[in-house]
Symmetry: C2
Amino acid sequence: MTTRRSDTTRAAILAAARERFASDGFDRATIRAIAADARIDPSMVMRYYGNKEALFAAAADFDLRLPDLRETPRDTVGITLARHFLHRWEGDETLMALLRAAVTKEVAAERMRSLFAAQIGPVAARLAPDPAQAATRAGLVATQMLGFALCRFVLRLPPVVTLDPDEAVAWLGPTIQRYLTDPAAR
Amino acid sequence: MTTRRSDTTRAAILAAARERFASDGFDRATIRAIAADARIDPSMVMRYYGNKEALFAAAADFDLRLPDLRETPRDTVGITLARHFLHRWEGDETLMALLRAAVTKEVAAERMRSLFAAQIGPVAARLAPDPAQAATRAGLVATQMLGFALCRFVLRLPPVVTLDPDEAVAWLGPTIQRYLTDPAAR
DNA sequence: AGATCAAGTCAACAGTTGTTGGCCAACAGT
DNA sequence: ACTGTTGGCCAACAACTGTTGACTTGATCT
């Protein structure tokens, strides 16, 4: 199983696609632009990935890669989660591509939903004081994490962009901690 | 100054535009579709609003209309703000149009930035224990509010959609309160 | 009634998009 | 050397986009 000649361009296409989808969103990222970035003909993109939707599906394949939290002390889970999320977002533009697309493409939104349900859900299920509210708690965690990413990386609100990572974690950590482990509000 | 005949259609166009921009985003909301919704010819849209960008600018004109918080007790400001924001969002699809567009259109993002800076900034400036961090605190408030709106109205994460308004306010209120008035983290 | 002007319709333009099929060049195995 | 396959390019298509200008209708005013 040696790497074929095409595997190189295949990967180049995927990288260019991720970049374009991340910075321009699904609609404005044209196949022609992606092909130009990868220095190939647009028709190659079609040949390798079928159509634009399939290319996006391949480019937006993402895993949060949450660490195993079973060994972290219960009351530092919030901070740990916040730090990991921030780190994960900064190192991979896939999440950005997914978020930018999810706002207008239903398929991408669905992927976002299942991503968070599958990854944060279990954490909440284990930590929530009331198992019945586990899903709600996971959802709340998502609102704060995605909201931060939205403001910092997409909307670029100046005060949120300025925040250095440690500071951000120090602010967000307790919020996430509260959503996960504090007694229900009201 | 009686209302001219054209004012009716002018308003119809604006309403249709807001609806389309809110549900489809800037790119997918075509002038033809908007015109069809308003039951007129596409060229009328151009005549009245010049071009698509200007139409969007007119349709996405929004004001948070924050209540005067100087008389609300300092420690209930978080809940009050959360409730108002949620209420405002549900009653007017303009914010949705703005958010959907802000993710890919720089002009819309800029409007979002100045909107939050101008409206939440002053509140934070008055409540923050440390005047120097007022902007940061306002930004954090924005992350939670926009993140909630994103998950509930745009991405439609099931557990966040299910949440009834009072419950949502009870969860978000304390977070916002903390961002505004609690001593800085770290 | 006839002239004036706003309100609205129609058809077309130029550009861009995803997508397709035919063609060419390089390589591999015989 | 020959032949089949693989990787790549080119030109074109059909659909759709924002936008424009010429034309028709209808009301209003003198």
